[in-house]
Amino acid sequence: MNDDGKPARRLGGPVGVAAIAVLLAWATRSVVVEGLAIYGAGAPPAPWSSAAQATQVDPLQGALTSLADRLPPGATVNVAAPTADQPTAEYWATYFLFPRRVRITETPTLDTPGLVIVNAPERPATPAGYQEVVAVRQDPGWLAAFVRVAGP
């Protein structure tokens, strides 16, 4: 500020200076925080890297997509999941298997061309007449998807 105080008036007095300071501080802090979130050492893998693919980030999505590739649109899929996991299992299965029909149960049944087992305590054995599509350890349990290769 010079002697006649014009710059201060032009910037709206103390409140105006405070407002500009808030804007600059907010922008600077945002650039630093978001810049580190994108380019920093702990940043998530780049969007185009293989570590950012659905199969890595969301195994259930990856398993369902793999299963959908092997089943006709009219097929029915049994998704067996513990009660607590059933809402997520239903949302994911109805979307990623669409337009295939989805049946949610607590224990697996062997009467559908597709079978998905969510959160099994151990790696599920491949049922007779089915072929394993995906089996992956997904905290806290195992996730597996099977497709029927022969009638029960």
Binding site: I20, V22, V33, E34, W48, Y91, Y95
Partner: protein
């Protein structure tokens, strides 16, 4: 699709949406607005979504030919005008601003926007609402060729949520000719660019290029947007889109109050209607906007009714949708049970303490934006009062009314207040953040006109010579 193909498809969609948006604005007579080129991509994406909605109502099949064919014809009709515009391009280039300090924040903004846009397109959708609600709807709509929620009426699927966000996803699939859950999120990238560009267009004439550039940088760098734009949990959620529509509405309101052009008022109302067709939080915003317009319009010359008439088209969709919600009994979960009985003082006080406690734990100004929302809101309010800045006053009133609506629902809605806060406060903040930033910029803009530019006169001259 591979990553390069996905990015190319998203770029094609952006160009198509921009073209359709420019034609829509021309048809409505709103292309003379200062914000027109900036809002065109967003208006185009929303217009394509509404077009699909209308096609479903009258049984026109959804495909690229039916969706884009009419726009090709409209484009050909406007071809002579387009040729005239292009022939003036050398004059625009001569009038384009020379390098100035605005290039520094804009360059930094580009370093953030490019990875954000890549992530918006390439990262998988992993969040519950994105899959259970928004993408699922888009798959069903795409399969049926119309808006039909009869198979998705479970309360957890939120049938009361409006359909436009999913229809915009459908528009990406129809334009690019394939269903891709990754491309489904491209519309959030379109909105990011539209709001950033609109901030620059709105504030450059008043605050100068440096402030406009800082405004763009402050918007695209907000860490609260990270889960929607980069790291990924909220990718495919509609909250960011609703916030962007509110921001576009606020920017158009600012432009209307500053220049008094009816077409900017029309843009503001249309963007607010689209916000209400994107998420239910857009409804109180539309009412807040109406209140602000009614209160501040006496300071402006008469509104040209003809210029505002096209607003009736998106308005009709909103009225139709609200009637459907009412007739089908798709009640809003958060609002069901809201009653004056909940105005019991003890309950209100208990909820207010919960909310205050929740907010106090979030005033970390380094990692999150809640504290900045409060700080920026307070300093804007004080500056608007001290400087008698009518534009900033109007915008801060808009912010306060919208925040009051959220607070009222938290106070009055039944259920577990902690659950509501934990599952929605960050998403509502994302809607308020751009509004608060726009209000702060409106308060600061008159103070910074000469900073970072050549002179105010040169700046305005270059601005006026640039294409609308």
């Amino acid at each position: 699709m591979t990553a390069p193909l996905l990015l190319a498809a998203a770029a094609v969609y952006f160009l198509v949406a921009t073209g359709v948006g420019l034609l829509l604005l021309r048809l409505a007579g709103w292309d003379g607005s200062r914000l027109a080129p900036a809002v065109a991509p967003a208006f185009g994406a929303a217009g394509l979504g509404l077009q699909l909605w209308a096609f479903g109502l009258v049984g026109i099949p959804w495909n690229a030919l039916t969706l884009l064919g009419p726009w090709v014809i409209v484009g050909l009709l406007f071809m002579p005008r387009l040729v005239r515009m292009l022939s003036r391009a050398p004059a625009w280039l001569r009038a384009a601003p020379r390098p100035n300090w605005a290039w520094l924040p804009l360059g930094l903004a580009a370093l953030l926007v490019l990875p954000e846009l890549s992530a918006v397109v390439l990262r998988p959708v992993v969040g519950n609402d994105a899959i259970a609600i928004w993408l699922m709807r888009a798959r069903v709509f795409q399969d049926l060729g119309r808006v039909d929620l009869r198979g998705l009426t479970a309360p957890s699927r939120h049938p009361d949520y409006p359909p436009l966000f999913s229809l915009m996803t459908n528009s990406t699939w129809v334009v690019t000719g394939g269903i891709s859950q990754q491309l489904a999120k491209a519309t959030n990238g379109v909105l990011l660019l539209a709001v950033a560009w609109a901030i620059y267009r709105a504030f450059r004439p008043v605050g100068g290029p440096l402030l406009a550039g800082i405004g763009v940088l402050a918007f695209v760098a907000l860490p609260s947007f990270d889960p929607w734009l980069y790291s990924g949990y909220y990718l495919g959620y509609a909250d960011f889109a609703a916030g962007c529509w509110m921001a576009l509405s606020a920017l158009a309101l600012y432009t209307w109050l500053r220049a008094g052009e009816s077409i900017d008022l029309a843009l503001a109302v249309t963007a607010a209607i689209v916000a209400a067709l994107t998420k239910n939080e857009g409804l109180p915003f539309l009412l807040a906007l109406a209140a602000v317009v009614v209160f501040f319009r006496r300071r402006l010359p008469g509104t040209r009714l003809l210029a505002v008439m096209p607003v009736a088209i998106p308005g009709a969709f909103l009225v139709g949708w609200r009637a459907t919600v009412l007739l089908q009994g798709y009640g809003d979960q958060q609002l069901q049970g809201v009653s004056l009985a909940n105005l019991e003082p003890g309950l209100l006080a208990s909820r207010a303490v919960h909310i205050a406690d929740f907010a106090l734990h979030l005033l970390d100004v380094i990692r999150v934006d809640y504290g900045w929302v409060v700080l920026a809101g307070l300093v804007t309010l004080e500056l608007a009062l001290v400087s008698r800045n009518i534009l900033a006053r109007a915008l801060i009133v808009l912010v306060v009314l919208q925040a009051a609506a959220y607070l009222a629902v938290y106070l009055l809605a039944p259920g577990d207040i902690d659950y509501w806060l934990n599952t929605s406060a960050d998403r509502l903040t994302v809607q308020l953040l751009p509004l608060v930033l726009v209000a702060l910029l409106s308060a600061v803009a008159p103070l910074t006109r000469n900073l970072g530019s050549r002179t105010a006169v040169q700046s305005v001259a270059a601005d006026q010579a640039s294409p609308a």
